[in-house]
Symmetry: C2
Amino acid sequence: MIRHLDQHNQTLSLNSPANLVSTPPVDSRHRVKQFMQNLQDEICSALERLDGKARFREDQWERPEGGEGRTRVIREGRIFEQGGVNFSEVWGDTLPPSILTQRPEAVGHEFFVTGTSMVLHPRNPYVPTVHLNYRYFEAGPVWWFGGGADLTPYYPFAEDAIQFHALLKSACDVCYPEYYPVFKRWCDEYFYLKHRQEQRGIGGIFFDYQDADGVLYVGPDTDGPAALYSQQVGKVPRNWEDLFGLVQHCGGAFLPAYLPIAQRRQKMEYGDRERNFQLYRRGRYVEFNLVYDRGTIFGLQTNGRAESILMSLPPLTRWEYGYQPEPGTPEAQLTEIFLKPHDWADGHFQGT
Amino acid sequence: MIRHLDQHNQTLSLNSPANLVSTPPVDSRHRVKQFMQNLQDEICSALERLDGKARFREDQWERPEGGEGRTRVIREGRIFEQGGVNFSEVWGDTLPPSILTQRPEAVGHEFFVTGTSMVLHPRNPYVPTVHLNYRYFEAGPVWWFGGGADLTPYYPFAEDAIQFHALLKSACDVCYPEYYPVFKRWCDEYFYLKHRQEQRGIGGIFFDYQDADGVLYVGPDTDGPAALYSQQVGKVPRNWEDLFGLVQHCGGAFLPAYLPIAQRRQKMEYGDRERNFQLYRRGRYVEFNLVYDRGTIFGLQTNGRAESILMSLPPLTRWEYGYQPEPGTPEAQLTEIFLKPHDWADGHFQGT
């Protein structure tokens, strides 16, 4: 929407050709919020149909400093031992230091953020845990989109990893062909447990600080594969609508990417061995979320609702000092081969 | 030990009267290391006798960047579902930023640290989890002692809290009467889960950055009860030997403080209700250790041995979204009344 301009109008600079693309529409917050709520609704409905037994319980909450949310949790289902799908919109006087370091233009400005986040912990160890989060920030002169989705299997099935990545790649490719190669590498970089020297899972896509500036990778590892690939790509011409479109496509790709995997794996029989391994590996999920995850840290730093932030933690977890799987078993192959970064979207896996 | 001095000797300033008290003895590292290893040995022997079934398994390890340790873990015992007692000595080029902020004099200097840390996770929910950690740092011109011990019950027994605090108070009082009142308040401040607005347990003592400067409280909350009490006390005249004595007394108080509690509580019968509550509360222990604990964060930041650092995590843990105990039950009283800071060492508890 282009307003009539006066050469002396203060809003001129916002509407000059160079900046036109970088300004959100006047109803940006409403539109993104609507999308995030719809995404939550669609995912919850589909998961309830898949589970066939448990239903989501909803808690609506308000944040005293500004904001509200709908936390939905499914428990003790046929497929889902526990799962949470959270929508929130939050505003306040100032972003936390961890974000202001990345976006100094936001210093001294109020912020607005809305997003949907989800973590599913299936009971059957052959069904992967999965995570999704899309979010949108505005703070004074700056705005950006972030998010992604990633899969954390307990047992290695190349078919699942290939399918999950292929669907996310398609969603990205509709928008811009270089999105997926950067965001896939960024996901591998982000979901990494440094103290274990392990990937959290087989990845997916991850991006943050996406705005009209057009730089794809805006992460800390300036020598990493995502940064190097992004430098080759250079700046991408895009505006607010393009990026909102990206988030809509990626959000929409989640159900077709995950549901078939859950459907076929939940039929597989398992015993104590697989269950014990799943509980052990869930410990890594806890370690990642509490030590590294910026969504969790942001939530705790901004005095968010602890129960909603920590709904990502698994229902039952175990730690075992010095555990090592038997060589040659699927449990050993998981971390030794399968959880290394692979080009899953190519459709072939040379690991096992 | 006073060396012969020459007025032009470079070591003069170290031996002038004002600084004599603030300089560690030449064999400081060796003596503290010896004490830390003996403390580990004594605790492990006593715990094995108490357990009567399981034995500690020891892993000796070396840190590539400098240092070594002995990690000892007991598992599936009669009393201890899992427990770890760790000794380590570590050195390196530079302390991590989180410590250099507190001790800028250490910037540009190599560091040395030795310590013993312990966490015990009993199986019976009536036996409290307990933690101990004592440590000693040297880095260029600065050195300091830190540590403490604290108790995390799952069910409220005032008798246990009183006994635990009384023993620690006695150990502190032998050294200086104002140590316990400051370190007890500091412990309540430190073992606090801000995002839950909950104490981790019933506390004990905690101190850090204790050196010849004589300021008792050196923590972040300059308006808190520990800081205010410490200001009233003023500076305490003491030297390296005095502080090593404090750590020796406190370390020695652990077994008499904890063993009687474990002995009487392990006889109590329990069922699924108590076990489920224990597993749920263990989640708070995980949250504290991964989000707040500076020992854990220091270890992960200095590329420490992850298995040894994370041996503090419980063997089995559960999270449950939105859990609320029934009003009036012991489970509700635990957080509502018992885990608030109380003056346990006074010997009376007005809570229940």
